[in-house]
């Protein structure tokens, strides 16, 4: 920011370069890790009597994937905003807050310490509050206020949960807590702590009973920020932490697993029904985020039920694979859809579907990329969304949850219907008002980001090929289904 006063445009290119560097770094570590684990002790504090005392940063097969999607989507969003953010004042602050958001999310995902997760969570959440209110108009401020009140409530619930865990186990390291819990625990106390943690992170992840803030916040934020919030943020600080804590920290109990599956199913079904009635594109996309996150949570929940019952381990790992695969895919196509919505808003200045129409001729790139994204979110075969939904449905059938499988298919069909509506009103109908000014395609940085993400949508479907899946997704599933691997590795260091 100091350099930004002397050189014009310094900050935006600097932010892009930093994020490009992070992308390269995260992919390098994904390849280099090769299914193993790596550990970094902050400040070099060595364990005393095998009890970890410092803060640990962890990297394994699961969170290196998440780090990759955070940085990739982050880089594309910041490159996109080089031209998008010109209509706001105070560009410098935008890039500073954006980097803070990315840093916080990376910290949450890499941290192996419960309180450290909380601190990084607050860093990223505070910058996202400010970014949602970035336009300082009525809507943005109101959405940000709602988001802050609910987010503050979630933070206190999480902090209470951490306090209760510390009270009983006298440690904050995730692996060490696992070891303390497996020595025996009070069942009611344990359930209470799990509920606190689940509702806190569930509020951050906007699972259905806690979803009230999400549509407002995601539709009011500037579009690259919506792409970040919806594509990555709710996964990194919500779903990722839930999955990590419930698999690697708590001993999974059956009732919690059933509760998580139910919540996932509810948000999958209700989210899509709320989405289909929307006329504001970004609100429509935000409700679809809730619904798609429902798929992920449901699928992981099925895996949890099977793990807790201790039967059919291969079906459990298939369900978890489906969940993680869908999580990655969702980052690609939902990020792309929000960037498309931003491009439309950039040229037309409206988010209402009824005021659009006929954009396919004048904005060919936006139209084509959004067609790809819509098809992959609703699960049409050559695109990535189809394969991950297929894996989820197959896993549900193999685990004999026929009702859930049927619901997943029905929700997918309704999603298709609502995206056909989006395509038809935005791109193919006649223009709503014939005398609107001449519109043309958006500038190069925006086009570049959209094209890269749409290629990603196609490439990610390669992950379904078994050998590729073994290399990329299997380490992630392995670390989750084998509960002892994580804690013995950390405590053994």
């Amino acid at each position: 920011m100091i350099f930004g006063r002397f050189f014009r445009d310094f900050n935006k290119y600097f932010a892009s370069c930093v994020l490009l560097f992070l992308v390269v770094l995260s992919f390098y570590s994904l390849i280099n890790l090769n299914g193993g684990l790596s550990l970094y002790k902050v400040g070099g504090w060595q364990p005393v009597n095998k009890i970890p005392i410092g803060i640990y940063m962890m990297m394994d097969g699961f969170n290196s994937l998440i780090v990759c999607i955070i940085n990739l989507v982050g880089f594309l969003a910041v490159f996109y905003s080089i031209s998008y953010i010109k209509r706001y004042t105070a560009e410098n602050y935008f890039y500073a807050l954006f980097c803070l958001l990315i840093g916080g999310m990376n910290g949450v995902v890499l941290s192996g310490d419960l309180f450290n997760i909380f601190v990084f969570l607050e860093i990223s959440v505070i910058s996202s509050y400010a970014l949602v209110a970035f336009g300082v108009e009525k809507n943005e401020l109101e959405a940000s206020f709602k988001y802050q009140v609910l987010g503050g409530l979630a933070s206190f619930l999480i902090l209470f949960g951490i306090g209760f865990i510390y009270w009983k186990t006298k440690t904050l390291n995730i692996a060490d807590i696992r070891a303390a819990f497996s020595n025996g625990y009070d069942k009611k106390y344990y359930l209470f702590v799990q509920l606190l943690i689940l509702s806190g992170f569930g509020l951050k992840a906007a699972i259905i009973p806690f979803h009230a803030w999400l549509p407002d916040a995601h539709s009011s934020a500037p579009s690259p920020i919506s792409a970040m919030l919806s594509g990555v943020f709710i996964k990194a600080v919500g779903i990722y932490v839930i999955i990590r804590l419930f698999f690697n920290m708590f001993v999974i109990s059956e009732e919690m697993a059933i509760l998580i599956t139910t919540l996932g199913t509810l948000s999958m079904v209700i989210g899509v029904f709320l989405a289909i009635g929307q006329w504001d594109i970004k609100r429509l996309l935000a409700y679809h985020s809730i619904s798609q996150m429902g798929y992920v949570v449901m699928s992981v929940g099925i895996g949890m039920i099977l793990v807790s019952r201790g039967l059919k381990p291969e079906v459990a790992s298939l369900a978890i694979t489906g969940g993680i695969y869908h999580l990655i895919n969702h980052a690609a196509f939902k990020g792309l859809l929000f960037l498309n919505a931003g491009a439309i808003e950039y040229t037309l200045g409206t988010r209402n579907l009824k005021e659009m129409g006929g954009l396919a001729k004048v904005m060919p790139v936006t139209s084509a990329t959004s067609f790809i994204a819509s098809m992959s979110i609703s699960g049409i075969p050559p695109f990535n969304g189809f394969f991950s939904k297929l894996i989820i449905i197959i896993a549900a059938v193999m685990a004999r949850f026929y009702l859930l499988a049927a619901l997943a298919v029905i929700v997918s069909i309704i999603t298709l219907a609502s995206f056909l509506k989006f395509q038809r009103y935005a791109f193919y109908n006649k223009p709503a008002n014939p005398e609107r000014p001449e519109v043309k395609e958006v500038p190069f940085p925006m086009v570049f980001s959209m094209i890269v993400l749409s290629i990603l949508c196609l490439l990610l479907s390669l992950l379904v090929i078994p050998s590729v899946r073994e290399a990329v997704l299997a380490p992630a599933v392995d670390i989750l289904t084998d509960p002892l691997k994580y804690s013995t590795f950390i405590l053994g260091q």
Binding site: E137, L141, E142, S155, F156, L159
Partner: protein, 107 residues
């Protein structure tokens, strides 16, 4: 005690109509959490954890929760000030603190 404070805060957030009062209720909840942490670290008859090698059987309170509370207080300061800034901007736009009149976003 801290559970009671938490409930007072939650009641305030749910029932109050004034933006500033909601912010105050959130702060009350925050403080209840901090009190809880201080309680977790307290050991009966403990003193401040400054280790004195001459006196090995002294009982010390647990210092870690105190460090955690310090961090949490700093974070709480940041969130509260941001919330207040948003409230001021909202007041400039709407000329009111009443939450019933600020409802552009629905559905």
């Amino acid at each position: 005690m801290c559970f009671g404070l938490f409930l007072v805060g939650l009641y305030g957030v749910i029932t109050r109509r004034n933006l500033v009062k909601i912010a105050v209720s959130l702060s009350i909840m925050e403080i209840s959490t901090f009190l809880f942490f201080a309680l977790v670290g307290y050991i009966d008859k403990g003193v401040a954890p400054i280790v004195n090698p001459a006196d090995p059987d002294k009982i010390y309170v647990d210092p870690l929760p105190q460090a955690l509370v310090l961090t949490a207080i700093v974070i709480g300061l940041a969130t509260t000030s941001l919330l207040m800034a948003v409230i001021i901007r909202l007041y400039r736009k709407y000329k009111t603190f009443d939450i019933r009149e600020i409802k552009e976003l629905r559905g």
